[in-house]
């Protein structure tokens, strides 16, 4: 088992489905409308190949210092039997996690990756949301409130409570989100679009109280992408008017947007409206090139299209810092994931987190 290759597969390719129900390797494929049962479905689904709990958000300390953060827990099954926790160092599940923080005022970006086997130091409960990787953990504590413990290298420790300000939403067809033509290119997609964040940040040894908002995705699949797809651009936006927007644009080898790309609007009551790629456009306006990986990311973005009520929009995505790349030293895939703000007619109307994948040369090669 060559884990580097496996992880490349994990994030990008190779649906190879032979029938509707299962991939070639035997992993189940999300197909029919799911019948979620919470809190059990906030937990792990070890029989599926890929799963992640993905939190991004922005917060401020008492001195109005501004920060962005990313806390991501990945699970990857190595065999379709979906066994979970048997040995202290199991051979069936891999857990990867990424933590990152953007200190906007000092323009500092710190991140850390972690990769562990299922077992004593990394695990995800199949009964409820309780996932951990070393000293990082995300756990549901009561109702749908969550507790996040995370750190980044020696400099950052985060102890955050995350409480839904709006109910969770299900993207796609009641939670079944299609990502491509192939039957296997689908996921179950559960999102908390607006979480109230409170807690403490220990930065450079100094503890500070913080408050902010976050977005959390929980996706379950066995193969996210279609064969010809090489990467995706994703953004989540929390507007000041308490509505939200999410876009994922899947790109093919020629860089064209895939027909399965989606824009989703969430109104104040939590109602989701989906739009296809013909109803919006994602245009790169300026790039940032990573010295570390050589990847050139289109981080200055213009989003245009129409709102659910038919009104047109033209948003400018402005990164709070340009160098927000995770180099993928462990996972083998470099990507840009950073805190941004959304402007309309030069007025900031919301906070956003943007993810750009498939721009590094190494990822392009591994996708072949």
């Amino acid at each position: 088992m060559k884990w580097m290759h496996i992880l490349s597969f994990c994030f990008a390719l190779c649906a190879c489905a032979e029938d509707i129900a299962r991939t070639k390797e035997g992993f189940p494929i999300p197909t029919a409308k799911p019948q979620f049962q919470f809190p059990r479905d906030h937990g792990s689904h070890p029989e599926y190949r890929i799963e992640w709990w993905y939190i991004t958000g922005q917060f401020r300390d008492e001195q109005q210092g501004r920060y962005g953060f990313q806390a991501t827990f990945f699970r990857y099954a190595l065999n379709p039997e979906g066994r979970s926790r048997k040995d202290a160092l199991g051979q069936d599940q891999l857990y990867m996690a990424h933590m990152a923080i953007t200190d906007v005022s000092s323009q500092r970006f710190l991140y850390e990756e972690r990769l562990n086997r299922d077992g004593w130091d990394a695990h995800a409960s199949a009964k409820d949301l309780d996932v951990r990787n070393g000293n990082w953990s995300l756990k549901r504590i009561e109702k749908e409130n969550m507790h996040l413990l995370a750190s980044v290298r020696d400099a950052v420790e985060m102890d955050f409570m995350l409480s839904p300000a709006k109910p969770k939403v299900l993207f796609g067809d009641a939670g079944l989100s299609r990502k491509g033509e192939a039957p296997s290119a689908a996921s179950w997609y559960i999102t908390f679009p607006r979480l109230q964040l409170s807690g403490t940040l220990r930065l450079d040894g100094e503890e500070r109280k913080v408050r902010g908002e976050a977005w959390m995705d929980h996706e379950i699949s066995s193969s996210q992408l279609d064969k010809h797809q090489v990467g995706w651009d994703w953004i989540s936006v929390r507007f000041k008017d308490q509505t939200e927007m999410m876009i994922y644009q899947l790109r093919d080898k020629e860089g064209k947007s895939d027909p399965y790309s989606t824009l989703a609007w969430i109104d104040r009551e939590g109602k989701v409206t989906h739009m296809g790629p013909d109803q919006f456009s994602w245009t790169g306006k300026g790039t940032w090139k990573s010295e570390k990986t050589g990847a050139e990311y289109p981080i200055d973005v213009e989003l245009t299209g129409s709102r659910p009520d038919g009104r047109p929009f033209r948003f400018k995505v402005r990164p709070l810092m340009r160098a927000q790349e995770l180099s993928g030293a462990l996972g083998g895939i470099a990507y840009w994931e950073g805190a941004c703000e959304i402007l309309e007619e030069n007025e900031v109307i919301g906070e956003a987190y943007m993810e750009l994948t498939g721009y590094s040369e190494s990822l392009g090669e591994s996708l072949q």
Binding site: W3, L89, N116, N135, D154
Partner: protein, 876 residues
């Protein structure tokens, strides 16, 4: 007379008084420098070699993970991994990496000297979670980690029992590369391992010379039959500016871990446990090197004192001219200082070279007694260098002080007339002081060791007693010249040369006394070491004869010290027990155990027949009818303890104590005490079956097999060697020889020290005879003019040298009897906890005596040859 200004006179006094003499007598000056250098070199080299040997032992994962902040293990036995989540919870959000480590040793078949596998070369095998290990690239400084993320290394084959990664040094030795495979003994069986990666010397900070094998943790656990168990967990903090603050928080978290379940070593230094293990050994080694230095210093004192005598007339002139006595004294001290500085500098260079040779000898000892060490070369250590340098300079100053005082005290007229006592320090004239030292030594002899901290007991009174007796012997022997001359009076009639010789000894000069004192100390030291070693060997032999009675002894291949982690599986020893040729066997289970913050051993014996108890050499025999496995009425497990264990922990028969174990704290009751020269850390012995159950490990360290009557030992051994290629199977005779070989290796260093001591003493004799002849050159000239032949002078001088040697030898041998007793009954017992029976090594002492006499005689003849040509006007 107006006194010269100190500032302007410093160079003048040095150049006129000291440098001028150095130029006139370069050989004498060179000899003095060499003596200081030799003393410093011996001290420095032993320390360097010892340091190298101890540091050669490593917890090898340190190389991979960087310096761990702490190591957490179970108080006894291995650590079940199902306890690790609890450990993780305990640290909460603290960003610590917890790295479980399982260590094993792989023996390389076909290596070693005797081919039976006993001393097959061993390589550390480290089981680590190779996937989690990659996370450490984020623990290190940002600049480092990207470069180390090599693609090749990343291709880990999870849980493989055959795929390994090995260091470049080992790959070069085995002549293997990526994709190749080679055989090793792991556990008790032969395995073929395939090289997946050859670690680049810089990768994960693995040292270029380190020889080790890395395996994925679950793979190694499967191979060893230790599923879900590890030896320890390394606690690693991320590097960076906040590390110090994190360390404080970690320290608080570590302190709050319950000690009955977790043993924390937060020394931050992987070699510290090895260091504490060999503390007593190193202390004794250092003291031996100090003794060598003392003998060397005696020579400096002797030489400087001789120089004072030679320059008496000059001193007289200076005094007569009005120079103050303090000025004269200072001049001598300056000379000593320069001598000390130059000699010590030379000594450091020489010491470093000597250390390269000594490191092998010390490493052998450490290997045999304590842990596997990979020491090959001794590295320079500034701290040790500074210490040795300071000792050399201070000692030279001290040595110069007594002659300086003598020089400045003499009356001008007296010194100009050469009315001297013939050199020597006045202390040696004080017989009463000698008797006082003798009495003080006797007083110190029975006093107990000084407790230095929790783990170290230092036999300070033993060393003081030895020092007192050495001084006493040195002084009192100087007073035996006159009685000796009287006893040999009849020789006076034989020839004028004898008359001349005896007349010199009848009224011995201070130099005579100083020379004999040096010989007494050197011979005493060397012979007492012989007595100690011989007594040790005798006791060990007796112990072996008593303990090793079985026909075949079986162990895994490689050196059987604490660091050999291979064990014989239950399946294997049960299979052997079922062999039709076997009458019965005894399986020895052993676990390293933390007790009262010290490392000791818990041993389990499991017999399938015969009397297990018959193999002990009792110091306190348990009551008749006792058998291992018995419990007291209140449920305490009845155990036996080794003498070392009792001495270390101040426990004796009848005592009860609590011992932590993987199954909780055990109440133990001591019913017997036995002699065990196998380890100085002590051991507690209980029933093997009980130990296996409590420590959850049924593997044995060794198996002693008794065959049925009529069984062919050679055939059984040959058959088993075929069947179990991973085991070293030795007959009774082979094992005894092997134990004695290890024992001799242990003392290999002391022989070198002994030789250096004798060398220095004989050099002192030559120096003294030279000085005596120079002092007496006018007398010799007169004798020649009166018709004394050159042959006669040669005879007289060589006889004098020989008689001095004989007196020194006699005194030294007498001293050695007392010193040997101190070494055996006081120092050794208090350091190692062993009682040895006192045995005199007649042959070795006779050889020593013969060697010293021969060296003394040859030296005397050489000096006499030179002296017969000495003319009255020759100055030096």
């Amino acid at each position: 007379m107006k006194q010269p200004r100190a500032s302007s006179m410093a160079w003048l006094q040095f150049s006129r008084l000291s440098l001028r003499h150095a130029r006139k007598a370069p050989w004498s000056t060179l000899a003095l420098l060499s003596i200081v250098a030799l003393g410093v070199a011996v001290f420095f080299s032993i320390r360097l070699a010892n340091r190298a040997a101890v540091q050669g032992f490593q917890l090898f994962s340190t190389s991979l993970s960087g310096e761990a902040e702490a190591r957490i293990s179970a108080p006894g036995g291995s650590l079940p991994m199902d306890q690790l989540p609890e450990l993780r919870s305990h640290f909460g959000s603290l960003p610590v990496t917890l790295l479980p480590v399982l260590e094993a040793t792989a023996s390389l078949p076909g290596t070693g000297q005797d081919g039976d596998g006993f001393d097959a070369e061993q390589v550390a095998v480290i089981g680590l979670d190779l996937l989690a290990l990659r996370n450490l690239i984020y623990v290190r400084e940002q600049a480092q980690y990207e470069a180390e993320a090599s693609e090749e290394w990343a291709r880990v084959d999870f849980g493989s029992q055959t795929q390994i990664h090995l260091t470049k040094a080992l790959a070069d030795q085995l002549l293997v590369d990526t994709g190749d495979s080679f055989p090793v003994i792991l556990g008790d069986t032969l395995h073929r391992l395939q090289v997946q990666t050859v670690l680049h010397p810089t990768e994960f900070q693995v040292g270029a010379s380190e020889k080790l094998i890395l395996m994925d943790l679950p793979g190694l656990q499967s191979v060893l039959g230790l599923e879900d168990r590890v030896d320890r967990v390394e606690v690693i903090l991320p590097e960076g500016k906040q590390r110090a603050a994190l360390r404080k928080r970690l320290s608080a978290a570590l302190q709050s871990l319950p000690t009955d379940r977790w043993a924390v070593d937060s020394s931050g230094n992987a070699t510290s446990s090895a260091e504490s293990m060999t503390e007593a050994f190193r202390l004794n080694l250092t003291l031996l090197s100090v003794l060598s230095l003392v003998v060397g210093l005696y020579l400096i004192l002797q030489a400087l004192e001789a120089a004072v005598v030679r320059r008496r007339s000059e001193i007289g002139v200076l005094l007569a001219l009005g120079f103050e006595r303090s000025w004269i004294r200072r001049a001598w001290l300056v000379e000593s200082l320069v001598l000390g500085l130059l000699g010590s500098s030379l000594g450091l260079a020489l010491g470093w070279l000597l250390a390269q040779a000594a490191v092998q000898a010390v490493a052998q000892t450490v290997n045999a007694l304590y842990v596997s060490t990979t020491a090959e070369a001794a590295a320079w250590h500034s701290g040790d260098a500074a210490l040795a340098f300071a000792i050399g300079v201070c000692a030279a100053l001290l040595s110069g002080w007594l002659p300086a005082r003598d020089a400045s005290r003499s009356a001008p007229v007296q010194v100009m007339r050469q009315e001297t006592r013939g050199g020597g320090i006045q202390l040696l004239d004080q017989a009463r002081f000698g008797w006082l030292c003798l009495a003080l030594g006797a007083l110190f002899y029975p006093l107990p060791a000084l407790e230095l901290g929790e783990t170290l007991r230092f036999p300070v009174f033993g060393y003081l007693a030895a020092l007192c007796w050495m001084i006493a012997a040195a002084i009192l022997c100087g007073h035996l010249f006159a009685p000796m001359a009287r006893a040999l009076h009849s020789l006076s009639d034989r020839s004028p040369a004898w008359r001349l010789t005896l007349s010199q000894l009848r009224a011995p000069t201070g130099r005579h006394k100083l020379t004999v004192a040096g010989l007494v100390v050197a011979v005493g030291m060397a012979a007492s070491m012989d007595i100690l070693i011989h007594s040790f060997e005798g006791s060990v032999t007796k112990w072996i004869q008593h303990s090793l009675r079985a026909d075949l002894f079986i162990a895994v291949q490689g050196i059987e010290n604490a660091s050999n982690r291979n064990r014989i599986s239950e399946e294997t020893w049960r299979h052997m027990a079922a062999d039709p040729q076997v009458s019965h066997l005894v399986v020895g289970h052993i676990h390293e155990q933390a007790f009262q913050q010290q490392s000791t051993f818990v041993v389990g014996l499991r017999g399938t027949g015969g009397d297990v108890m018959a193999n002990f050499l009792w110091m306190n025999e348990p009551p008749s009818g006792f058998s291992l496995g018995d419990r007291t009425a209140d449920g305490a497990i009845q155990v036996l303890i080794s003498e070392s264990f009792g001495n270390r922990f101040q426990l004796q028969v009848g005592d009860e104590f609590n011992l932590p174990s993987p199954s909780g704290v055990l109440p133990l009751h001591i019913v017997g005490r036995f002699a065990d020269y196998g380890n100085e850390r002590g051991s507690v012995v209980m029933d093997g079956e009980e130990l296996s159950r409590l420590w959850k490990d049924s593997r044995g360290l060794n198996v002693a097999v008794t065959l049925k009557e009529g069984a062919d030992l050679g055939l059984v051994r040959g058959r088993w060697m075929q069947e179990y290629p991973g085991l070293a199977i030795r007959s009774n005779r082979m094992l005894r020889e092997e134990v004695l070989r290890i024992f001799r290796e242990t003392f290999s260093v002391t022989h070198a020290l002994k030789a250096i001591g004798i060398l220095v003493a004989v050099a002192g004799l030559a120096l003294a005879l030279f000085s005596l002849l120079i002092d007496r050159r006018q007398q010799l000239q007169t004798l020649r003019e009166l018709g004394f032949t050159r042959k006669g002078i040669r005879h007289a001088v060589s006889s004098e040298g020989l008689l001095i040697t004989m007196l020194g030898l006699l005194g030294g041998l007498l001293l050695s009897l007392g010193m040997g007793s101190i070494l055996i009954f006081v120092i050794n017992r208090q350091s190692f906890g062993w009682t040895l029976s006192y045995r005199l090594p007649w042959w070795s002492m006779a050889l020593l005596a013969g060697g010293v006499l021969l060296a003394g005689w040859v030296t005397s003849i050489g000096v006499a040859q030179w002296g017969q040509r000495l003319k009255g006007e020759i100055s030096e």
